[in-house]
């Protein structure tokens, strides 16, 4: 019986301590300015965290940097994506961060909100990057890093089946996309017209390009704007693919797009550049000539989702100058091209796309073109949570034919109660 008593006393003591409550002012609200970076070659030791394949391949690329800056030694710590977010937040809380890191674009708001990231120095030219990608580094008007590599989404389609369906030039607008899906089913005899994600994690990445294309926005300042007519129209358009039987409502759990794309039962889907090698691997030799990609269809404009990863420098670094010099080096067009050849990560620097390594492939060039108009969600710390509620409502809309206006109203109410984390 003594334990509850001790616990009660501890709780009471803890409660007494909290009489003070939150400090009235929010230190992260004001835009921050960055100090300049010193001239000359980088020196000293640097630690950088990188996730997934990037973490494996980065040490090879950095050999060139070390050769150009003899006084520097860079250690790359590769961490798996699944553990990365927890590892970062723990490190930030404990103030044991590396000097710099590869940071997922959707984490920027959270980490900057924690006061962990160093603002980007003015010597880095924001005009060199794709504007949508640069937007992912900005939190509350201040940029905290640079886009390292990018990806965006396009419509993949089977050229051979499209020919059978009587389509030789890919459609450019919403009606054309739907007509093409219908023609695939009716004339080419495919089981489904197009593969679209029926809700679930990340389905907003396929829905939002349509909404952006229709002039909808996710937020206006620090207010969410899910309940606009433009958003509703886009989601209704998305829903119509399911209600008209053009898209499978219940794909198997964990199914990927490659097998059904290759066997022709789903001759179209919307995804990112990594799917090129994935479908060619499943499709085998010669499959590269049986499919192509086209930009997201236009309503008011063509818009897509821009993803990828950023590079950031942590405030706790003891070697700030060298860290930003490495960031600048990684953003050089020739380094970006070399990195593309090593990792197939698409360059975030627009001038790198002039390189023959990227212009030679027409599919890749289409991705480069789409990147100019691709959009990123706002860098709010609460975005992941809001996105999960949005995904859940998309699932209802797609699978059960739920009323779009009611669904969006409920997303809006929940998003507003979750807030923007400011």
């Amino acid at each position: 019986m003594r334990t509850p008593a001790i616990a009660a006393i501890t709780v009471a003591a803890a409660l007494a301590v909290t009489g003070c409550g939150r400090p009235a002012e929010n230190p992260s609200a004001a835009p921050q300015t960055a100090a300049t970076v010193a001239e000359g070659p980088a020196t000293g030791e640097l630690t950088i965290w990188a996730m997934g394949a990037e973490g494996q391949k980065l040490p090879d690329l950095l050999k060139d940097f070390e050769a150009a800056n003899p006084g520097v030694k860079v250690t790359v710590t590769a961490i798996p994506w699944s553990a990365a977010h927890d590892k970062f937040t723990t490190a930030i809380t404990a103030q044991k961060t590396p000097d710099m890191a590869m940071i997922g674009t959707t984490w920027m708001g959270e980490f900057a909100g924690l006061g962990a990231l160093d603002p980007t120095p003015a010597s880095i030219d924001k005009g060199a990057f794709f504007p949508g990608a640069w937007g992912t580094t900005e939190v509350g008007g201040t940029s905290y890093g640079i886009p390292w590599y990018v990806e965006t989404r396009l419509v993949y389609y089977r050229t051979d089946l499209a020919k059978k369906a009587g389509i030789t030039t890919p459609p450019s607008d919403w009606d054309g996309l739907k007509a093409m899906a219908k023609a695939m089913q009716d004339k080419a005899g495919t089981k489904w017209g197009i593969n679209l994600q029926p809700g679930g994690t990340g389905s907003w990445q396929t829905v939002m390009p349509f909404a952006w294309s229709n002039g909808a926005q996710l937020n206006n300042g620090d207010q969410w704007t899910f309940d606009t007519p433009q958003m509703a129209e886009a989601v209704k358009y998305y829903q119509s693919f399911f209600t008209e039987g053009l898209t499978n409502k219940t794909p198997a759990q964990g199914a990927t797009q490659e097998p059904t794309f290759v066997d022709g039962s789903e001759p179209m889907f919307i995804s990112g550049p990594w799917m090129m090698s994935a479908v060619e691997k499943v499709g085998g030799k010669g499959f590269a000539d049986k499919y192509s990609v086209f930009p997201m269809p236009v309503k008011e404009k063509s818009a897509s989702f821009v993803g990828g990863s950023n590079l950031g420098v942590f405030k706790t670094t003891k070697n700030r100058d060298a860290a930003w010099k490495l960031v600048q080096w990684l953003a050089k067009p020739e380094v970006q091209v070399k990195w593309y050849q090593m990792s197939t990560d698409l360059p975030s620097v627009t001038s790198a796309w002039q390189d023959p390594a990227l212009t030679a492939d027409t599919k890749l060039a289409t991705f480069g073109k789409q990147l100019e108009t691709a959009v990123a969600p706002p860098s709010f710390a609460t975005w992941e949570q809001v996105a999960a509620r949005f995904d859940a409502e998309i699932e209802k809309v797609a699978k059960t034919g739920a009323d779009v206006d009611a669904s969006l109203k409920s997303v809006q109410a929940e998003a507003q109660s979750i807030g923007t984390g400011g």
Partner: protein, 317 residues
């Protein structure tokens, strides 16, 4: 009362006991201090790693703590029971609670039944290769959930999965097990039973082997048939074992997390999201206040369910 007082021989009271215990606090000097010193390492560890986290999380559940407050855990606002109200009025949390109840109410009795059946079969029926079967039934318990999930996804695959292929031999068109709102939860329950009954089986087996053979023999001589012997002798003697297995299984199932986490991510349409999983998601979003409040709600439910089980299954006096 008075009669017994009189009956006490007066001599006894006067006679001093030869080994009279020292009254507490008046023992050899230093003994009490030594006891405290010896207890200090444990006490400190207990305070630091058991009491403190419990106290802090309880405190957190009454505040608006978010992830970015972790470095300054006390400069947060005290908001009373708001987090609890928010959790209880959250439609997804309600759905998660209903799903968890479904999982426990259907899953626990079925798991116990299968475990008991397997234990009886191993105890009486199967004599050859008993060790092989015992190992086989127990293997799912010690297999990684990730490997299990991969295999079960193949089994439950709608078009070419093992289960639907077998069903099609009998002319039955199997459903899209994990993709259908009606069937997703039964699929997970099936998988959970398969994965967990081994533990119960091993404990039941130990319980069965502790039933004295002489009782069985005596009942047999009195003319009791196999079923009567099981129902009137084995089963009542298994009661403590049954209590133990049902309490541990229910606690495990009330916290069920891994199955939806690896198989369905809570979908389709939140039909398999569990309380633990939803709580985990809230921690992931950095809403530590609401998430700890949800954790305490789960704790209260587990405590209540366990108390009920103890009441229903305790030894009859």
């Amino acid at each position: 009362m008075s009669a017994s007082t009189i009956a006490v021989p007066p001599l006894m009271e006067a006679a001093p006991s030869p080994v009279a215990p020292a009254r507490p606090g008046k023992g050899r000097p230093g003994e009490g201090r030594a006891a405290w010193i010896l207890a200090i390492p444990f006490t400190l560890l207990f305070l630091a790693f058991t009491v403190w986290p419990v106290a802090q999380s309880l405190f957190m559940s009454f505040t608006d703590t978010r992830q970015k407050d972790l470095r300054t855990p006390f400069s947060v606002n005290f908001i009373g029971i708001d987090n609890y109200v928010r959790a209880l009025s959250d439609p997804v949390f309600q759905r998660a609670a209903a799903n968890t109840a479904y999982f426990v109410v259907v899953g626990v009795p079925l798991t116990l039944a299968v475990a008991l059946l397997a234990a009886v079969a191993l105890d009486k029926g199967i004599t050859r290769f008993r060790a092989v079967f015992r190992l086989g039934f127990y293997t799912p318990v010690i297999t990684s959930i990730v490997a299990v999930a991969v295999v079960w996804r193949f089994i439950l695959q709608p078009d070419a999965g093992l289960l639907n292929t077998v069903l099609s031999w009998f002319g039955i068109q199997g459903p899209n097990w994990l993709g259908d709102v009606q069937w997703s939860m039964p699929s997970l329950i099936l998988m959970a039973i398969w994965r967990n009954f081994g533990t119960g089986m091993i404990i039941f087996l130990a319980g069965l082997q502790a039933v004295p053979y002489s009782l069985q023999e005596a009942a047999a001589i009195d003319g009791a048939n196999t079923w009567q012997r099981f129902w009137h002798i084995t089963f009542p003697l298994l009661r403590p074992t049954l209590l133990f297995v049902s309490v541990t299984t229910a606690i495990g199932y009330l916290q069920f997390f891994e199955e939806p986490f690896v198989m369905t991510q809570g979908g389709p349409l939140n039909s398999t999201i569990s309380m633990s999983m939803y709580t985990y998601n809230q921690f992931g979003y950095g809403n530590y206040g609401v998430a700890t409040a949800m954790s305490y709600l789960i704790f209260v439910v587990i405590a209540a369910v366990t108390a009920i089980q103890f009441r229903l299954l305790r030894e009859k006096a």
